[in-house]
């Protein structure tokens, strides 16, 4: 038994009814288990090497580039195409048809024939076709304002203004990163047995990491082309603060509802990590010192988090208050007593906002890599759909519903506000959207993204019926989907969002933030109730820095200018 294990007294995982509420999901924060951090830890641990195999770009910034990442077993290459795009054609919407840059992650190192094939397809994105040698397809647009400022500054021989960089956070933002079988690319199942891709979304995370590097290189190339001998290189410290932006819309929200086992595994792993840390009987001086340092570093990154959205502004202000209060509390109450993390967390539930509680829950995990990081192995779902247990009696099914869907049974589904919204798919690029049930003629297109309502109907249809599930479904096949979800609850209690996803007050950005926080995103900036911008890899080391920079705690940057 390790020292860490000896030091524990069990605290239970938080209850799904507490965790899986939209309000709390909409306050999610990155953690040690976030997918970007998992990737960078691996790249450093396994000493991956990186080389620019091609950079065939003209002085206008048009051309292609290849950046290859070599791991212990396999290599992967980001193939980038840079285009000239008129400002009026620059759109973040999924319906756009042209971008500043387009990308694919190639399995191996491409040859000339591959590049010829990719150059005919990747710039067209959804309208093109890639092959099983490609693992992702992506595109990005420049932040016109910041791009211009940085290029012009460097060309003139001066460094860009860090304040301007902090106000945007990125030089380009991706508007889609497609993986897993989309548009002909390799299926997730084809690569799931590769160790480097065993955790979720590692292909997408590697794609974006390499995009960030080539975008920086393109910027430098343009500055040098413009300024000639007067141009200077971008200061690495400033470069490190620059991430890749991302615009995320409704397309991501159905994923959360359509992958219940995967979502359960993500949440279960984080909840287990939180419970393990809360269970520790004592914290060592070095653990306390490290937590205190990370908290101080967080103050700076939270202070630079801005948003124009009133709801987010309020959340950020509340979080800043929470952190100030937490700092004050820790001054007078050092974490030296019995079960310090549990006491700190329980106090947070009493005194801090949900945003603050989730921030603290993630932060508490930071000193405990040994205790937490093994849970990375539990994040994926390679099991495939479960068969329905037809032998189960309807009374057992009713009991499961009452245990796990009591929240849905408590909703009055006859009221208009309980089912005002409706999810559908637009024929334009098959984009998921939300409509108004009572104002638009969309009901025949409705997607089944209201598990609460559907399980309520299942509960009503099975009440007092003495049958097996198999016999019931013979006559009522329309309930198969809900039966499958309910039975899943026996092994995946965090699988369901325990709120009404078609309520008039439902905000899709809560679902988006929840998923993006697992990616490791920061700087959430909602632009409406249904799309937002985020920043990925801000403050992360670049590939050439991985060997000598920290690759784990980069989401908590030192103040600009401080030693890393």
């Amino acid at each position: 038994m390790s020292a860490v294990e000896e030091n524990t007294k069990n605290v239970d995982r938080r209850h799904p009814q507490q965790v899986m509420r939209l309000q709390r999901l909409g306050c999610a924060h990155q953690s040690r288990l976030s997918f970007m951090r998992i990737l960078l830890r691996r790249l450093k641990r396994e000493r991956w090497s990186f080389s620019r195999e091609a950079f065939d770009v003209n002085s206008d910034g048009v051309g292609h580039a290849i950046l290859t990442a070599r791991g212990p077993v396999r290599s992967y290459s980001l193939v980038a195409f840079f285009h000239q795009l008129a400002a009026e054609n620059r759109s973040d919407r999924v319906i756009a048809e042209a971008w500043d840059a387009t990308f694919t992650l190639f399995d191996g190192v491409p040859d000339a024939d591959d590049i010829k094939r990719l150059s005919a397809n990747v710039p067209r994105q959804e309208a093109g076709r890639v092959s099983h040698r490609e693992l992702s397809l992506s595109r990005a647009n420049r932040s016109a304002r910041l791009w211009q400022h940085v290029v012009t500054s460097l060309a003139r021989g001066v460094q860009p203004d860090p304040v301007k960089i902090a106000s945007v956070g990125y030089l380009m933002r991706t508007t889609a990163v497609y993986g897993s079988g989309k548009f002909g690319a390799a299926d997730r199942e084809d690569i799931a047995d590769r160790a480097e891709f065993s955790a979720p979304f590692q292909v997408e995370m590697l794609t974006v990491y390499l995009i960030r590097t080539l975008v920086r290189d393109l910027l430098q190339h343009q500055a040098t082309a413009q300024g000639g001998s007067a141009a200077v290189l971008l200061d690495p410290t400033i470069a490190r603060a620059i991430g890749i932006g991302n615009s995320t819309g409704l397309g991501m929200a159905p994923f959360v509802l359509n992958h219940p086992v995967l979502i359960n595994n993500w949440v279960m792993a984080r909840e287990e990590a939180i419970a393990r840390v809360r269970s520790l009987r004592y914290a060592s001086p070095s653990e306390i010192e490290f937590f205190t340092e990370i908290l101080a570093r967080s103050n700076d990154s939270i202070a630079s988090w801005t948003s124009d959205h009133p709801l987010q502004q309020k959340k950020i202000a509340t979080l800043q208050d929470d952190i100030a209060q937490l700092n004050h509390y820790l001054l007078n109450n050092p974490l030296t007593g019995y079960q310090p993390w549990n006491r700190l967390y329980c106090r947070a539930e009493q005194t801090m906002s949900v945003e603050g509680q989730e921030f603290l829950a993630s932060l508490m995990l930071e000193p405990y890599g040994e205790l937490v990081d093994g849970l990375v192995e539990c994040l994926s779902d390679n099991s495939g759909p479960d068969a329905i247990d037809g032998a189960m009696s309807l009374s057992e099914l009713q009991s499961l519903i009452q245990t796990h869907y009591c929240w849905a049974l408590d909703i009055d589904w006859d009221t208009e506000s309980s089912c005002t919204k409706l999810w559908y798919v637009s024929e334009e690029k098959l984009e998921p959207r939300i409509g108004q049930r009572f104002e638009e003629s969309l009901e025949s297109f409705e997607q089944p993204l209201a598990p609460g309502r559907d399980v309520f109907q299942l509960h009503k249809a099975t009440r007092g019926v003495d049958q097996t599930v198999a016999a019931f479904l013979l006559r009522h096949p329309q309930h198969r989907h809900s039966v499958r979800r309910v039975q899943l609850m026996r092994t995946a209690p965090y699988a369901e969002v325990r709120d009404n996803t078609i309520d008039a007050a439902m905000m899709p950005i809560d679902l988006l933030r929840y998923k993006l926080a697992f990616f490791g995103a920061t700087q959430f900036d909602p632009r409406s109730d249904r799309w937002l911008r985020i920043c990925l890899y801000a403050n992360a080391p670049y590939p050439e820095e991985l060997s000598h920079q920290d690759a784990d705690f980069w989401p908590y940057p030192h103040q600009t200018g401080a030693a890393v």
């Binding site: 759109s91 973040d92 819309g249 068969a387 638009e440």
Partner: protein, 212 residues
């Protein structure tokens, strides 16, 4: 395969299948394609024959005795799903007989997945073909044209103990464009026509170009 499964699910939904049944149809299509069997063609044929029908009429009336559909014919997805649902309540060695089954090869994925779960080797017979599987390996004996049969008067599933193995799994497939178009036609029914209002309101964006 993920694209195949997604198209199959949406096409089944567009042809009037409820969501859970569409999920089963998509799983079955993928299973068949992975076994190098014509899953998409079979699904296209099935949906053309059963477009917008009432599901319960094509579902087995009962799973005792010979199975038959309430309206006369059995949908292989509904019958296959019932086979899977009731698998643990009957003896592994008990034969299951289904009468008047549309596209009988579509029952195979459900038998295969059940075989994998219960670790057994059933054989399914219809017309002049026998197909055996343990879920991962498939052995075909008889007239392969019957894999594409649009119906079978009788399908029988029996336990089998004496088989050799042959790996037939595939990760990618060639697709018949005509068949893909047929399924896309059904899937398209689930896509709402875009309007300027839906573009702005439905996705929540009032920004059409760079504003940053």
């Amino acid at each position: 395969m993920n694209e195949t499964e997604a198209l199959a699910r949406r096409a089944a939904q567009g042809a009037g299948r409820s969501w859970g049944v569409a999920e089963d149809a998509a799983m079955a299509t993928r299973w068949l394609c992975a076994a190098n069997l014509p899953g998409l063609e079979l699904l296209a044929g099935l949906l053309e024959k059963s477009d917008q029908v009432t599901e319960a009429d094509f579902s087995p009336v009962s799973t005792t005795g010979a199975w038959r559909g309430g309206g006369g014919m059995l949908c292989p997805v509904l019958a296959g799903a019932a086979f899977s649902d009731s698998a643990t309540t009957r003896s592994v060695r008990a034969a299951v007989v289904m009468n008047h089954v549309l596209y009988p090869a579509f029952v195979m994925p459900f038998v295969g997945r059940t075989a994998s779960r219960l670790e057994c080797w059933p054989t399914v017979e219809w017309n002049t073909i026998e197909v055996s599987t343990n879920g991962g390996v498939i052995i075909i004996d008889g007239n392969r044209d019957d894999l594409n049969a649009a119906s079978a008067a009788r399908l029988c599933c029996v336990a089998n103990d004496d088989l050799i193995s042959m790996d037939a799994s595939s990760k990618r497939q060639r697709v018949d464009p005509e068949c893909w178009a047929t399924l896309s036609h059904y899937a398209h029914r689930m896509y709402a026509p875009a309007t300027e209002q839906s573009r702005l309101y439905g996705a929540g964006s009032t920004q059409t170009h760079e504003q940053c």
